[in-house]
Structure formats: C-alpha cells, structure tokens
C-alpha cells in the first residue's frame, strides 16, 4: 500500500527534513510514527500523499510514484487528517463539508454516503462547522475524509487538544475502519494512544528511522525511546519495572493483565511456589 525507499527530503531554509528513510506498509496495517519534535514525522506524512516530493528516493502509494503523480489524484486513495481541523473545513454546513471531498473523488452515491457518515458520527448536517466544539470539528474533518473510503488513512496527530472521550470516539472509528481493511499511518505524541490503537511503531529521531517493530516491543525498549526523547506508555513501563519479580507480565499492555499476573504471583507466593 505504501513504500518508502531511501527517501531523503530537505527544506530549503528551515527544518532538517529526513534522511534515508525506508519502510513498507502493507494493506490493513495500523502503524504509528513517533519521535521528538522536529524529527520529521509530519514531513513523512506529507511525502506519503505527495504534498512534498522527495529530494531523492521514491515514495510509492497505492501504486503511484508520488514524484510523478498529482496530490489531487493521490487524494482519491489516500485520506489525510490534519492536526488542525480548521484548515480542512471550508463549507457552510456539516453536510456540505462531508460532500465537498466526495465531489472531487467522483463518488456517485455521495448523498447516501454523507448521510451514513452523519449517522455514524452523530453529527447534525445542518449545523455550521465553525460553530462546533474542537472535538466535533475534528469529527467533521474525519467524516469528510472517511466518506471517500480511502484505502490508506494518514492521521497527523489526530487527538491533539481533544479530551479523553473525544479522543476515544475518534480512535474507535479509526480502529473499526482498520479492522475493515483500511491501512492507517498515524503520527502521535501520545504514547497511550499509540499503545492502545497502533500495532506497529516507527521511531524517528533527527530525520532518521531508528526503530521499526511492534508497538509492544518498542514500548519496552527504553534506550530506543530515550534516543527519540520519548517516555514509554505507563502500563508497559510499570510492567517492565515489576516484571523482574512477577512472571508472565513482561508482555502486559493493560492494567487488567498486570493485576491478573500479580494476583497469580501472589497466590503462588502464598502457596510457597514463588
């Protein structure tokens, strides 16, 4: 679905860009790009849908080499959700907003799909998008992207500025989409969101890809995360911290499994097995 081969990109005047980044994302994967500020996470997102063209190397997405394809064409197969929804919204009602993207994608059953999206996200189509709360505006932006049913979704910090419920609502929709086969590439600073939703982690630092593996393993690699100025999510950190004493919890990713492992260990203790 998405392949980067030895991609270099540099900005003319500011920003360090990225150097020699290579990875491949297969259909149905859910990957998260993590790294310090200025590591090049958003640059990779923009390279993936042709908003930026690589200085060298190739970016292939949905069969297109982005160096030769127009972003407007790539956009038919690649949905992009920006951190700031206000840059995406430009219509006078929520319904028009959702229909807007579909018009360019050549979707015939636009009306029908728009109604589906409104129902799915619990939005009022007659409302004015700029009068909604930040979370609702992000939902409208997401709905307008999802309405086109893209094969690849790129999410540039989709949960920034959202409260827990709004964040969960948006991420649950994206997870359902991923379960139905959509490939997802997400940038996030929130390690809890990354751990809860993504399956694969790509760690960037100083414009270079320094780690690529399952989120589960990356969260336990304190040295790798430290290189990217990151702290692991709390649950794996706790699991690693107490894993030396309790058996079977070093791969725990949620509180329930830690408690269960601890209970088992304590029960073993009381029976004199530990």
């Amino acid at each position: 679905m998405l392949r980067l081969d030895g991609v270099h990109f540099s900005y003319n005047t500011e920003g360090q860009g990225i150097q020699d980044v290579s990875f491949e994302l297969k259909s149905g994967e859910f990957a998260a790009i993590i790294g310090e500020n200025g590591a090049g996470k958003s640059t990779i997102c923009r390279l993936c849908n042709g908003l930026l063209k690589p200085s060298s190397g190739t970016v292939t997405v949905a069969g297109f080499d982005t160096s030769n394809a127009k972003t407007s064409r790539i956009a038919r197969d690649v949905g992009f959700l920006f951190q700031n929804p206000d840059r995406q919204l430009c219509q006078s009602t929520v319904r028009e907003e959702i229909m807007f993207g579909m018009g360019f994608a050549g979707v015939s059953e636009a009306e029908e799909r728009c109604s589906e999206m409104l129902e799915l996200f619990g939005l009022d189509g007659k409302k004015e998008p700029f009068g909604l709360s930040r979370g609702e505006r992000q939902l409208v932006a997401l709905a307008s992207v999802l309405a086109r049913e893209p094969g690849l979704m790129i999410l540039d910090e989709p949960t920034t500025g959202l409260d827990y419920m709004e964040c969960t609502r948006i991420m649950d929709h994206i997870t359902r989409l991923n379960e139905n086969g959509t490939t997802v590439l997400m940038v996030s600073h929130d390690m809890e969101v990354v751990l809860d939703y993504a399956h694969r982690g790509l760690v960037l630092s100083g414009g270079r890809l320094i780690g690529d593996g399952s989120v589960h393993d990356i969260m336990r690699d304190a040295a790798l995360l430290s290189k990217a100025s990151l702290l692991p999510a709390q649950i794996p950190a706790l699991a690693v911290a107490i894993g030396g004493r309790f058996i079977d919890i070093d791969r725990a990713d949620d509180m329930a499994s830690i408690v269960e492992a601890e209970a088992n260990a304590l029960a073993g203790d009381s029976r004199g097995e530990f």
Binding site: F80, F82, R87, S144
Partner: protein
Amino acid sequence: MGGLLDYLPGESIIHRLNPLVKLILSFGLCVSCFLSDSIIFVLSVIVINILLSMMARVFARTLLVFLSLIKFSTLLFIIQILCVRQGEILLNLPLGLYITDKGLMFSLLFISRLIAAAMPLSLTLSVTRVVDIANVLVSKLRLPYKYAFALTAAIRFIPLFSSEMAGIMEAQTARGVDFETKNFLKKIRLLLPLCAPLLISSVRKVEGSAISAELRGFNLRGGSSGYKQYPFKAVDYSALCLCAALVVVSVML
C-alpha cells in the same frame, strides 16, 4: 521560506542607520517618484534601491521583490496601455484597440513609479526590526503606542496570514482539490470557499494576540516604557541630507 517583508539580520551601514532615518529615506524615495515626471529619474530611483540593497547585502531579496513587482506590473501595463487613447497611434490591434505613444510613455512611467515606490518599503523592512520601527515611532515621533503597535502588528501578520493560507490550500489539496488548473475562473471558484477558514483563523489569531497583549500590560505602556535608545549619528544626518537632495532634484525635473 521567509516572506518578502521579513527582517534579514546584518551589520551593514544600512542596518545600522537609525530606524526613523530609514523610514524617512524610504518615504523620501517613494515621494520623489511621484514628484518627478521624468521616467529617467524614476528608473534612477529603482537603481538607487538596488544599490542600497547591495550595500545592505539583501540583494537576493530585492531581486525577488523586483521580479514579483515586474509580474504584477506587466498586467497593469497591458491594461493601462490599452486604456490610454490620446497621442499618435503606434500600433493597431484587433477589436478596435491600439497603442499610442502617450499611452506607452504613461504606462511605462506608471509601472516604473509603482516598482520604485514599492521597493523601499520591502528594503526598509528587510533591514529594520519591526519592534525598532514601533519604538522609534513612539519615542521620536511621540506616536501613541497603540497606533505604532497596530502598524507593526499589521506588518507582522502578513507572513502569518500567508502561511495560514498556504496551510489551508495544502489541506484542501490533500482532500483532492486541484489548484493547479489553468482555468482562471475555475481557480477563483476553488479559492473562494477558502476565504471562510482564513478569515475565521485570522480573527481567532488576532483576538488571541489582543488578549495576550492585554494580559501583559499593553495599556500600561507609555512613551518612556522602551529601554532602547535611538540616537542620531553623523551617518544618519548624511542620509537625511541625501534624501532631501533627492526630493529637491525630483521637484526640479
């Protein structure tokens, strides 16, 4: 990439001129273009602008400004030359249009003035910090700080709005909008809806800045609040004399 009005740091003699002198020099160059009807004089002012930018080591920026103005001026030149009907006909065109000698001279003078008058503004902002302009307007010209701040905020917001517009266009491109169309009317139709998000984000930014300034004691600031002094030196007086001489020459020509 920085905007055409951003400050470029440097230690040249132009950079070190008093900000007020730079403003007066800039104003003098603009006014002299409109006082003189000689195209040779106006072209000389453009050359002076270029020489000053070379002295300030911001020639690359000036060249960019110059080329941008040329593009804009070409459109105005074409409209202007076709609208002036007086004078001897030099060239007959289809649809009853023609070019006259007076039209040609007037259009050349018009766009030369436009270029010569716009270049000093860009040059002044390239070699002067906006905050210095505000300070000197308050301390030397006794302009109320509110007005000086409004002026500098307006200048500061130009690149911000430009970058916001670029971001909005990028977001729309990612949604499948093709702004690269050659059809001018279609392009306008695509750009028009973007006015709403630009306006809303601009108003939000301005409102945020106003509240932030208010919370940091904006209204307490007076003429003597600035700690930086802007004394006049010999080089400043020399620059003012040269500026005055230029204005006098423009009146005589």
